[in-house]
């Protein structure tokens, strides 16, 4: 069953055409990777799907809801983790998670925050101010925030950026388990190993156009490549 459908998506900023009519779909419970070089239009696409930016033309449907017509309803079922997101420095990690949880159904808020604390896995530091956290700790807190709401659709922009190998591996497993539990995931990453490990299907975007799409194994076979990194280089260079 298709959870997300993007049709002929165009986004312009003044004279700059950032996204030039892209099409893709994501099945329910699937982890879909959107990869491409810097400035290719990945973050713009993710920001549009997460209701932050408006659509210039084209349509996006998220779990049957039209993104342009029902953005407020879509915000209830999605979760977006921006690449360089931050948290409120004067709050403790716990207070930050509680603050976010309070935007959702009140009876679920406490449980939601507890789940966030569990995913973040910051131990006793969760009661310290965010200002005192390392980059990796902040990222863990934010991943916890993004996944604690049990979103039906999670949009994750570079979810493991700034994390060490162990922490990154843990987060990848959490993302995989989240998808197994029915959450649809749209992921963007520069880490091709991560993409290969996590994604069921990927799309390569370059200069605002999707230039290749398919399952990682199929693409590696098609381009006679050992890994997705090679596929990426071959596709982008062509």
């Amino acid at each position: 069953m298709t959870a997300v459908e993007v049709k002929n998506l165009v986004k312009t900023y003044g004279d700059l055409k950032a996204v030039k009519g892209i099409n893709f779909y994501i099945n329910q419970g699937e982890i879909f990777g959107l990869i491409g070089p810097n400035g290719a239009g990945k973050t713009t696409t993710l920001r549009i799907i997460s209701t932050l930016l408006t659509i210039t033309s084209g349509t996006i449907t998220v779990l049957g809801l039209d993104l342009e017509k029902k953005p407020e309803q879509i915000r209830k079922i999605i979760s977006y983790l921006p690449e360089d997101a931050g948290a409120y420095k004067n709050l403790t990690g716990k207070a930050y998670l509680e603050f976010i949880a309070n935007f959702y159904e009140p009876e679920k808020a406490k449980k939601m925050a507890e789940k966030g604390i569990e995913i973040s896995d910051l131990g006793t530091r969760i009661t310290d101010k965010v200002d005192t956290y390392s980059k990796g700790m902040k990222r863990r807190l934010l991943v916890g925030r993004a996944l604690m709401t049990d979103p039906k659709f999670a949009i994750l922009d570079e979810p493991t950026s700034g994390l060490d190998v162990n922490n990154a591996q843990e987060i990848r497993n959490i993302i995989k388990n989240t998808a197994k539990n029915g959450t649809t995931v749209l992921l963007s990453s520069h880490n091709m190993l991560e993409v290969e490990y996590l994604c069921d299907r990927i799309a390569l975007i370059d200069n605002g156009i999707i230039v290749e799409e398919g399952k990682p194994q199929e693409l590696m076979k098609k381009y006679n490549a050992k890994n997705i990194e090679e596929v990426f280089i071959k596709v982008v260079k062509n």
Binding site: Y13, G14, D15, L52, L53, P82, A85, F103
Partner: protein, 428 residues
């Protein structure tokens, strides 16, 4: 290029931006135009004061007084009949004069007999600003000259039996002041201005502090959301844009009011140490110059709507902030909009301003809480209600614009750069 030169060049390139110079240039233009206006008013006041004179006394001392007034003033109405007071006042008001001076028929006789002569003075007060009271001060100075001349005359005659107290103070005054439809007996414009001076300085300063503090909080809050990259997350949560805008405005208003109260306590205590007996609240009350409970409620309303308007404006400016540093520059327009009415209301009354400045003052939403107390003291409810309606409309429009900005890409991307590029391209 040397290392030092290299650093200086780089620093200058970073510092010499329109954002650095524009605020100072605008400030300089505003203050020079304000200075020009105030200077123009002063020039106007250097002209002889317009007065009306009724002299029903034929004695030598009244003649001394009449001579001084005729030589140094523009006497727009002159009569010897004491019953012409009404006509004299009407003429005076028509010609925007300062005072009607009535010399009692026993003026000279009283002085000859060792008593003080009486001037009846009917002041027509145009405004209660610092500059408005200058015209009455000029007349006060003329009366002082009359006194000196009478004293000289008394001493010149070599009358050794003259009472020294009389020689030093040969005249007394019975004063009535007409100001904004009110007739205030036994008080001069100078004393009224003194009583009102606390409101003319204290309230504008307090309003400036509230608006600047709360405004700074809102702009910084928006800037920090962007700098700390928390805004994107907030905007994808299931919360209405109006709730985000309202939440930020209300929180800033609460903090701004708390800060203002703390500031007011300190400032009030500081100013009270300078109070004279005439400027106490009891002094004001005895001349029917105090605010009623309804007046206080109206002041509360006008302060509240102005604060909301200010915060909505700051919120709009805050959406343009890219980081905390740029937020500092963005507070400048608010500072100008607060400082202009603060100075104008301190120096001049709304009624005595030229039409263009009246329009400017009314158009700036932050003028209204500064003008309201004085308007209410003189029962000018129309002005206060018009202000409340205008500021409320301004606040609603500002909030609507902010909510609209929150629903567009501008809040995330900021389109100023693109628009500028577009404009330049079109020009080329």
């Amino acid at each position: 290029m040397s290392a030092l030169g290299n650093i200086i060049t780089k620093e200058l390139k970073e510092l010499m931006t329109p954002a650095t110079f524009l605020p100072i240039i605008i400030m300089a233009i505003i203050f020079s135009s304000m200075g020009g206006t105030i200077g123009g008013i002063e020039d106007e006041l250097e002209k002889p004061p317009v007065i009306a004179l009724i002299n029903s006394d034929n004695g030598r001392f009244s003649q001394i007084a009449t001579n001084v007034f005729n030589q140094t003033s523009n006497v727009t109405f002159y009569s010897t009949d004491i019953n012409d007071k009404k006509d004299a006042l009407n003429t005076l008001k028509e010609k925007e004069g300062v005072a009607l001076l009535v010399i009692d028929q026993n003026f000279s006789l009283d002085i000859e007999n060792g008593k003080t002569g009486t001037f009846e003075i009917y002041w027509v007060m145009q405004g209660a600003g610092i500059l408005d009271s200058i015209s009455s001060s000029v007349v006060e100075a003329l009366i002082s000259t009359v006194n000196t001349n009478i004293t000289r005359e008394l001493i010149k005659n070599g009358n050794n039996s003259i009472n020294s107290t009389l020689a030093l103070n040969p005249t007394k005054r019975n004063e009535t002041t007409y100001f904004k439809e009110k007739e205030l007996n036994g008080i001069s414009p100078g004393k009224i201005a003194n009583i009102l001076s606390q409101q003319s300085t204290f309230i504008p300063i307090i309003m400036m502090m509230i608006i600047m503090m709360a405004g700074q909080i809102v702009i910084s809050s928006m800037a920090l959301e962007k700098e700390n990259k928390t805004l994107e997350t907030l905007l994808t949560l299931p919360v209405k844009r109006t709730s985000i805008v309202a939440g930020k405005i209300i929180a800033a208003a609460i903090v701004g009011l708390i800060l203002a109260i703390i500031y007011m306590i300190g400032m009030g205590s500081y100013l009270s140490s300078f109070q004279f007996s005439d400027t106490t609240s009891s002094g004001a009350a005895s001349f029917d110059l105090s605010l009623s409970g309804l007046d206080m409620i109206l002041i509360g309303v006008v302060v509240f709507v102005s604060l909301v308007a200010a915060l909505a404006l700051c919120m709009l400016l805050g959406t343009m902030a890219k980081n905390f540093k740029s937020a500092q520059t963005l507070t400048f327009p608010v500072a100008v909009l607060v400082l202009v009415p603060m100075f104008l209301t301190m120096f001049k009354d709304f009624d005595t301003l030229p039409l263009a400045l009246k329009a400017l003052l009314f158009g700036i939403p932050f003028s209204h809480p500064m003008m309201a107390p004085r308007s209410l003291l003189f029962d000018d409810y129309l002005m206060v209600f018009a202000g409340i309606i205008y500021v409320s409309i301004f606040a609603i429009i500002m909030i609507a614009i902010v909510v609209w900005v929150f629903k567009t890409d501008r809040i995330i991307t900021g389109t100023t750069k693109f628009n500028l590029n577009k404009i330049f391209k079109k020009k080329n």
